[in-house]
Symmetry: C2
Subunit: 354 residues, 2 copies
């Protein structure tokens, strides 16, 4: 618990002076003022995060956290549970969507086992793998808490440790993503409980549930909230009662990124639920979050509205893994290059507005 | 005129078999079907364009075409006319927005003088420059045609030649962009005339006109359309009466890209007006166009609706030069990498949907 408290205390406000200097520079670059729109806004935000009015994004990391969910036994997912470890192996072999998009943007992928239900055999596999397994999947939250309170604490702490390990290696921006069969179910529970939206409006088809499956999923989420009665004033209790290990891990990554003044790009619905947990623990984290895309998954809009952040794009995506975050990172990098590399009117000898 | 006719005749339908094979492959990749949304759609379109169900985007070129406009004398732009050549030098020195974003996505920038009002001195400048100058700017379209009919033909032919030169060097995707002080004015005239929308609703603030300037701009566009009475059945006549050399050039690039089965990513409002000219000459070109962003400039939506294509993103941009196209090209490349590089369920040993 000390580690979480310490991390939260380390999250400070954005650097106003760096942001003003970045805005002034944007206005001096050879383009009509504000003509690069959101790209200008992001670059100014990153200046405030990094305390550098010409921030440079070089080392890019996507942290993809995997965990299993006891509630999957309730038939709330279109895919069988064994897909979670199978996809972890796919990540480690470089064949998944996140690997392709990370290569495209020049980022590395760090795969973290936060609580996969089987052991991950890593020998002979390529890629970065970190074992932070809290348990072999969560318990079935329709019958009691998904995890013990101390495991929720440990999951957040593990996320903090993962990010700090990257800081030691050097990292300029981090994207977060998830893998876990059944994990839209705890995410919807978290989103409904924290935002106050009805379960029905923040519960979607996940990886491809039919309407009967969706009805069952909604019913199970309501039951889980009723059985567990999370404490609205304690985000760790919410995570413990109706969350998941990878959700806690991602929340920890976000908090630690804020404490280390590193911009963190969130992905879709699951990482959004993790962002809600992080935000409940420390509202200041909002300034360090960049939302990549608006997911197809019902309820993602409610998350972004609650956080008060706008996504960069909407490509009807709903894969998770950090795939939206990868594309978002590329836009953030582009925005910082604009700020660093474009010539000013004076440098280029271009006449200004009449 | 023969070159345009020949090019148009070379534009064929998309390859249905390649598209079906691409769709089948997307469905076999290790992700829930359709979970990459628009990225999947684009990859399938590129498969149809290139006749390759696993298309590869390696050589990327952004063609930025510059021209001046006699109508600028009417006070329809916030910037003075000398900015057009000044920005051409900025492009050639690598300091403009398009240079930064092209470097970011690994594309080269080809700068074409289609009709800048002064000579471009290219010695000691870096970068690719092509001189296709038709004249030292168009004539003032409020007093008569912007250019002679044969110059409109030549501008389109010049664009065809520029693209064919790139084909000889090898090009997998092309983005088009513009530079020309005053060029939102002819673009609005073209858009109003072709789509039938009122001039008021497709005329915007351009690089930053105030409301008095906007009122004047709308009045001048109406006058130009009234004085010139373009022939609705002849897109070359429209281009000649109320167009611009860079607009004709971009239309030529698009038509030639279609004939050579190369995907062409359009930018904002000006390249959109060029797309309307190309579409009037050959409706089949629509299948080869990918719209990058929705511009802030009023009237861009009317263009995309008329063409029946949806933009990939909306970042409140309005710079031109091909900046939106550059970001769009990166997404198209990403979409093709997904199709080429992701593992299938079978390859990765991942269980399919239950």
């Amino acid at each position: 618990m000390g580690k979480i408290k310490e991390t939260i205390e380390g999250i400070k406000a954005l650097d106003e002076a760096a942001m003003e200097a970045a805005m002034a520079r944007q206005d001096a670059l050879t383009k009509p003022q504000r003509s690069l729109g959101v790209l200008e806004d992001i670059s100014v935000k990153v200046a405030g995060i990094t305390r550098n009015f010409k921030p440079e994004i070089k080392d890019k990391v996507i942290i993809t956290m995997a965990g299993d969910h006891g509630v999957a036994d309730e038939g709330v997912s279109a895919y069988p549970k064994e897909v979670t470890p199978q996809m972890v192996y796919n990540f480690l072999s470089g064949g998944a969507g996140i690997n392709v998009l990370a290569r495209h943007i020049g980022a590395s992928v760090v795969v973290v086992d936060m609580g996969v239900a089987t052991d991950i055999e890593i020998e002979s596999r390529a890629g970065n793998f970190i074992d932070k397994k809290i348990a072999y999947g969560t318990a079935n939250m329709t019958k009691g808490p998904a995890m013990r309170y101390e495991d929720a604490v440990h999951s957040i702490e593990a996320g903090i440790e993962v990010l700090e390990q990257e800081v030691e290696k050097g990292v300029d921006i981090v994207g977060v993503g998830d893998m876990g069969i059944g994990n839209t179910t705890p995410s919807s529970a978290i989103v409904a409980f924290i935002t106050g939206e009805p379960v029905e409006s923040v519960t979607g088809h996940g990886t491809g549930l039919d309407s009967e499956g969706l009805r069952r999923k909604i019913e199970r989420i309501k039951k889980a909230l009723e059985v567990n009665k999370p404490n609205r004033a304690d985000a760790i209790d919410i995570l413990a009662k109706v969350g998941g290990f990878e959700i806690g891990g991602m929340a920890g990554v976000m908090l630690a990124a804020g404490a280390h003044r590193i911009p963190v790009v969130i992905d879709g619905f699951i990482s959004g639920a993790a962002a809600l947990i992080a935000y409940e623990l420390s509202p200041k984290i909002r300034d360090y979050l960049i939302a990549s895309h608006l997911s197809v998954e019902a309820g993602h809009r409610a998350i972004l509205d609650h956080l008060g952040i706008e996504p960069l794009f909407n490509l009807n995506m709903r894969l998770g893994e950090g795939t939206g975050a990868a594309l978002g990172i590329s836009l953030v990098e582009a925005s910082c290059k604009i700020l660093r590399e474009m010539a000013t009117f004076e440098e280029a000898g271009v006449s200004e507005k009449e």
